[in-house]
Amino acid sequence: MSTAEKQMDTNTASASDIRKRKIADVVNAGLKRRYAAERRFRFYGIAAIALSLIMLVVLFVTILGNGLTAFVQTRVTMDVVVSAERIDPQGTRKREDLITGDYQGAVRDAVLALFPDVTSRKDRKDLMELFSTGAGYELQKQVMANPDLIGKTIRIEVPVASEFDMLAKGYISRTVPEAERKISDKQIAWYDALKSKGMISTGFNTTLFSAGDSRQPELAGLWGAVVGSFYTLVVTLALSFPIGVAAAIYLEEFAPKNKWTDIIEVNINNLAAVPSIVFGLLGLAVFLQFFGLPRSAPVVGGLVLMLMNLPIIIIASRAALKSVPPSIREAALGLGASKLQMIFHHVLPLAMPGMLTGTIIGMAHALGETAPLLMIGMVAFVVDIPHTPLDPSTVLPVQIYLWADSPERAFVERTSAAIIVLLGFLILMNAAAVLLRKKFERRW
């Protein structure tokens, strides 16, 4: 080896040494930066989660803060003389005569008997404003159910007018000047007198869960909307689940893979993203105008929501079918099962939890929908509780929308209460989906 070569050798050795050192330096120098990037990313992630959690907490706190008080109602208990001359002057005791009786007058007599010193016409009118008009209807209901009550004194427990409920709950402040609140100082004094007599009580607001809609907040309830939602969802489920699952099975297991099935597939995926109001317009044109189905009926609502839900169910069901491993199919076929038997006896039961989960999530989505129902007349004031899916009715989210737009102060807390009820149903449905998945899901 010549010196020159030696020289070169040491040169290359030192060069590779230098390179190695350089790489280590580069790596070391970059290491810090890379760790920092990772830390930053983690921080972003945590911040994102924290932000959404904060939003969720704010939402829940405001809704619960506003709405929880609506589950309690202020009531007044009083004795009412069911006098025959007020209720049934002719003494026929017939239904059609009883219905026209002056029940409000009987309540008025009872109230005036409590405050004998209130004599002027205006004061008497103001005094009556403490009591909900529901008092007369409550009396009517009891007497109609049992005409023998006529002539007796009965004790009824009825809600106070919503303004005084608001006063009791502190939403109307006693300290603001009289001109700025809906109730006068005199009325407050009367209310306090009733309270000191022990006639005022508070209890769970059963009206909220048993009555239909009303423009008197103290008489308004969610039951009509709950029943309407129930009928709507039953129709939606009864139609979209079998149709959706059948479509999914055909497309996944039987349909040939060609241009047409590709087009269908693309369209189904697109349909899942179509804004819901479009389905409402379709429902208006097809179900109402062409088929002549009744307006505002849950059956039409159900049909519209079915259209909206179908793509969601089909996509979820296809994913569930796809996740069943081929070994199951091959084993079934290998043992001599027909294709239909293979699907219905082996694949479908294994795919069912996934399908049900998708369906429940789709139904929860349908439960919260208002926009398509606007077009088919379900955004309406409906007092009567629907008895069949053909009766006019609203649904829960529509009730929330209608109450949110009402001027009466007491509807503010009722709006939040309705949101709490709707959220409760949604949480129940989603919990059912999670449970189903946990119980029946199989991992391969």
């Binding site: 079998p242 007349g377 955004v379 004031f381 009567d384 006019p392 737009d405 009402s406």
Partner: protein, 346 residues
């Protein structure tokens, strides 16, 4: 098996639904302003008559007439609520579709108020000042220019030196239509520049100028929910809101109405007609349905009874401004006799 039953029930529901039968309850559509009053009457009517409560939809006045005028028969509504009078064109559509006998019933008045938070001072404005604050284009020195006013005090030194910020209804709302007509249009047409344009024969262009609301952020469309506007006013004492009188009445502890043309928006002033921004509310009845759909006459009788629309009636508790006595008598008579409206009356 389960699936078969499900499919059968589904088919059965559709089949039953297909045979739409005659209705046994009243259906009303129309204005969201009349909705709170109609619904109260509906409820009281149902409770005192023992029948089914009318179903009332809030579709907006224009949308209501569209449904109402679509034809005669149980699939079409019986009543239409309106926060303005029916238009000639709408009545013509009605007639074309066989709805030949429409009964017009004025039920009362509604005031539109400009209000702000109680924490701020009461403002007193003229309609012209409101127009100048909210129009897209205003005349300055004889020239129509894009609205230059940023603060109220820019319009008139007597007004507060704060940014113009007004929350109001979107164009789809009947309240907005009425506000534009009663305030913007009314004030605009009195301006000398407007008269000049009119004389020059540019009526159409003028209408556009008078009715356009500025879009540079001073007017904020707050959606149809008036409760939301009240909450926002409560939170921001510099902003003003435009909404129906009943929301002012219900929230008198939070907000106060501004004086318009020197008049307070009070019950008395609106009722007497001295408060400028008020409008009549109507209910239109399809006479052909009276007798076939049970309860229409009873419902209208309840609506036009003194205990409902009278001075101490339950509708006034909900914020309806009653008509003067003679007018009430006139329309109560129209209800009793079912006087048909003809195109010549409009």
């Amino acid at each position: 098996m389960l699936k078969k039953t499900l499919a059968l029930t589904a088919l059965a529901t559709v089949a039953i639904a297909g045979t739409a039968e005659a209705r046994d309850q009243i259906r009303a559509v129309g204005s969201s302003t009349v909705y709170p009053f109609s619904t109260v009457v509906a409820e009281n009517f149902a409770k005192t008559s023992g029948g089914k409560a009318p179903v009332i939809e809030s579709t907006g006045t224009g949308g209501g007439f569209k449904l109402f005028c679509a034809g005669v028969g149980p699939e079409h509504p019986d009543l239409s609520n309106a926060s303005r009078r029916i238009k000639k064109s709408e009545l013509e559509t009605c007639e074309k579709n066989g709805v030949k006998d429409v009964v017009e019933v004025k039920v009362g008045y509604d005031g539109i108020v400009v209000a702000n938070s109680k924490a701020a001072k009461v403002m007193s404005v003229t309609r012209e000042q409101v127009f100048r604050a909210l129009a897209k284009e205003v005349p300055v020195n004889g020239q129509w220019v894009a609205n230059p006013y940023k603060k109220w005090s820019d319009i008139d030194a007597s007004l507060p030196a704060q940014e113009i910020e007004v929350l109001g209804p979107p164009p789809t709302s009947g309240t907005r239509d009425a506000f534009v007509e009663l305030v913007m249009d009314a004030a605009c047409e009195k301006l000398p520049e407007a008269k000049a344009m009119k004389d020059a024969g540019k009526e159409k262009e003028l209408k556009g100028k008078c009715q356009s609301v500025r879009e540079d952020g001073a007017y904020i469309e707050a959606g149809e929910n008036d409760n939301l506007i009240v909450q926002k006013l409560d939170a921001n004492k510099n902003s003003f809101g435009i909404f129906g009188y009943s929301f002012l009445e219900e929230n008198a502890d939070k907000i106060q109405g501004s004086k318009v043309d020197g008049k307070d928006p009070t019950f008395e002033n609106i009722s007497a007609g001295s408060y400028a921004v008020s409008r009549p509310l109507y209910v239109y009845v399809k006479k052909a349905h009276v007798g076939t759909i049970p309860g229409i006459d009873g419902f209208m009788k309840e609506f036009s009874s003194e205990k409902a629309w009278g001075e101490d009636g339950y509708l006034t508790n909900k914020g309806l401004i009653p008509m003067p006595k003679e007018e009430r008598a006139k329309f109560a008579k129209a209800v009793a006799e079912m006087t048909v409206l003809s195109a010549g009356d409009l």
